[in-house]
Amino acid sequence: MYEILRNEKLAEDTHLMEIGAPMVAERIKPGNFVILRISEKGERIPMSVFDFDRNKGVLTIVFKVVGKTTKDLSSLKEGDSIMNFVGPLGNPTEIEKFGTVVCIGGGIGIPPIYPIAREMRKAGNKVISIIGARRKYLLILEDEIKSVSDELHVTTDDGSYGHKGFVSDVLNMIIREGRKIDRVIAVGPLVMMKAVCDVTKPHGIKTIVSLNPIMVDGTGMCGCCRVTVGGETKFVCVDGPEFDGHEVDFDNLILRNNRFLEEEEKAKGGCYGSEKEKA
């Protein structure tokens, strides 16, 4: 059993949760993910790492309530426990001194960007972060991201805060200003990561994306998480979750992530609506 040490609501339908898992906390690195299961009848769901404290044995995730399991998770209180917590899974982010790195987080992709930006900066990179949300009140972790970046840009779709528009628009601007960018890392909804890749591709800027397919085991056994990268089938849980974005077949993955829509509605009993971001 893994104890919930903190459950804080960051924004509508978005929670930060600290979980006691000493062994996982000791091993986890930016870019890795975990799989958790709340109880006997629960589903196994993947979550990225937001932060970790190796000394205290604590791992922090930030999640958005989109369906049954995330809803159940959000209702847990300090002192409650979850049944299973597996990690670290996937490969950690490749951290090196590249030069200037642009870290992009959209919506629920903002949290995983935080440890990546932090480590990139520690490795001697100049870190430009771009984070975006649909509206101001949905924007999370601005201060945290700022604290690990040399430069921060914020966007909202409706212009209620920061630049009006998408994170990819700001990226486009920065590139047009003629600034040299050595690497882009983008985490967020698939459509956002796709848009970022469309912006960087003509300029030949290496762009890493972190994919979020539906998973079951997370150990490379089932192929549920498969995706086409560079014309080859890859399993995101063991070959990823990060890939060269210019090689990823996003359209197929977007369809694959919608494949249990009917069942997901049934699971949550259709009783609460949330502003869920499709794919």
Partner: protein, 460 residues
């Protein structure tokens, strides 16, 4: 003494009723039938049957005890050699092992060894395992990676020898394929759990959620334990590698079965994990795994469940009994048929499967006749769910994370005749060293490794 030529029939749920539920198909002998069947044994002096059993159960001895009605002693006899009798009595391909060489088979049907094994273990199951008085402890610590039949057998045997054993399992439940792969209607999960409880009663510790190679490496295990056994199985699915294979509602057998068995999707939405089965389900391949998928699909409400196989029924690797069960239940077979592509609708769901007809050519290296495509014979089938069940090979995760661990073709870990790998103190066995095989072979390997490990740690 006139010996009955035929084996006593195993009572079964009738096919019409059973496809409406996930309960076990084979119902087991009652006491009288078991005793009667046991009496058929000739108690041959040379015991060919024992040679046929990969773990060497003393078959005539346990059968004799059954014939005398002493079921408690019978199960104790079996447990001297096997840690998982309730499992083997159900899924062992005994017709190709102990029963194949049974003397009775020369003039009639062989003794129902599997059925009897199942009977006595079911009899035992009704009781609670008492924590055994532990054997004298050696003070040696052994790590077992993977809790499939190979790992469980190795762990159980080592515990019986007085070593302190910890099993590390990646999933949240133990049993390996017994839990996530073989369906409930063939092997109830309660039975697997009960067998694991038996192993625990021997003093073995189970650690779940531990993906070795990620959370702990084999090198680290070596530091903390006197020896390591790797029994991580063959969990990586093969794909057809044809266009459209990543469309929705195309599953690997592993995904399909894991959703249904491990995650209990057949009880969705009571359990949270879904599985989607359409009206026309096609399973590719004709091994035990495919048959399990096709039969599961029927139970999940498929109107038509079809098995497509590129050779003929004669070459099908599945057990005859399983193919028979599938046919009774209404599974249809399309032989000499190979998919070449899939196409879908705008939601990305599979709708059509283009196939090519095959003919059989010369035998290949496996001795089976090689399938050859017939040019221009392409045709299209309407489908809405496809399950790819064309085999598995070892998952490379652990080997990749363990430098110095030698692997051979298809990623199997190389071992010598004592299950020793290229790293001193690290042993391996089961599907990870052979490629996908059988429960009893995995158990045999676990057993052999336990003996080798015992020798190794006592020396050290």
């Amino acid at each position: 003494m006139g010996v009955k030529k035929k084996k006593h029939k195993m009572p079964e749920q009738n096919p019409k009723g059973r496809i409406q539920n996930f309960r076990e198909v084979a119902l087991g002998y009652d006491k009288r039938t078991a005793v009667e069947e046991a009496k058929r044994c000739l108690h041959c002096v040379n015991k060919p049957c024992v040679e046929g059993c990969p773990v060497g159960i003393d078959i005539p001895a346990f059968v004799k005890l059954v014939s005398q009605g002493d079921f408690d002693s019978a199960i104790r006899k079996i447990r001297e050699k096997s840690n998982l009798p309730a499992v083997c009595g159900r899924v062992c391909p005994y017709e190709r092992q102990c029963e194949e060489v049974c003397t009775l088979g020369k003039t009639g049907e062989p003794l129902g060894i599997g059925h009897l094994e199942r009977f006595v273990s079911d009899h035992e199951m009704k009781k609670v395992f008492k924590k055994k008085k532990p054997p004298e402890q050696t003070g040696k610590k052994i790590a077992v990676v993977g809790s499939g039949p190979a790992g469980l057998t190795c762990a159980g045997d080592l515990a019986k020898m007085g070593h302190k054993v910890t099993v590390f399992e990646a999933l949240h439940e133990g049993g390996g394929v017994l839990t996530y792969g073989i369906p409930e209607f063939r092997l109830p999960k309660e039975i697997v759990r009960s067998e694991i409880n038996y192993i625990k009663s021997l003093g073995v510790r189970m650690e779940y959620d531990m993906v070795i190679g990620k959370i702990i490496t084999v090198e680290e295990l070596k530091r903390d334990y006197d020896a390591v056994f790797i029994g991580t199985g063959a969990g990586l699915p093969y794909w057809l590698k044809v266009p459209g294979e990543n469309l929705n509602n195309i599953y690997s057998s592993n995904e399909f079965l894991t959703r249904v068995n491990l995650m209990k999707a057949y009880r969705f939405p009571e359990y949270d994990t879904p599985v989607r089965v359409g009206k026309r389900v096609v399973t590719i391949g004709a091994g035990n795994v495919s048959v399990d998928c096709a039969r599961t699909a029927l139970r999940l409400g498929a109107r038509e469940s079809i098995i497509a196989y590129r050779r003929t029924e004669k070459e099908a690797p599945a057990r005859i009994e399983e193919i028979q069960h599938a046919k009774e239940e209404g599974v249809k077979f399309r032989f000499l048929t190979q998919p070449v592509s899939f196409t879908g609708n705008k939601e990305g769901e599979v709708r059509k499967m283009e196939c090519i007809r095959m003919k059989l050519g010369e035998p290949d290296e496996t001795g089976r006749r090689r399938p050859i495509p017939i040019k221009g014979s392409n045709f299209t089938m309407n489908v809405d769910t496809v399950i790819i069940a064309i085999g598995e090979r070892p998952n490379p995760l652990l080997a990749k994370a363990t430098k110095d661990l030698k692997t051979a073709e298809r990623g199997i870990i190389e071992v010598d005749e004592n299950q020793i790998t290229s790293i001193p103190g690290v042993f391996a066995g089961g599907d990870i060293t052979t490629g996908a095989a059988t429960v009893i072979l995995a158990m045999g390997a676990g057993k052999k490794a336990a003996e080798a490990i015992d020798k190794y740690v006592r020396k050290g």
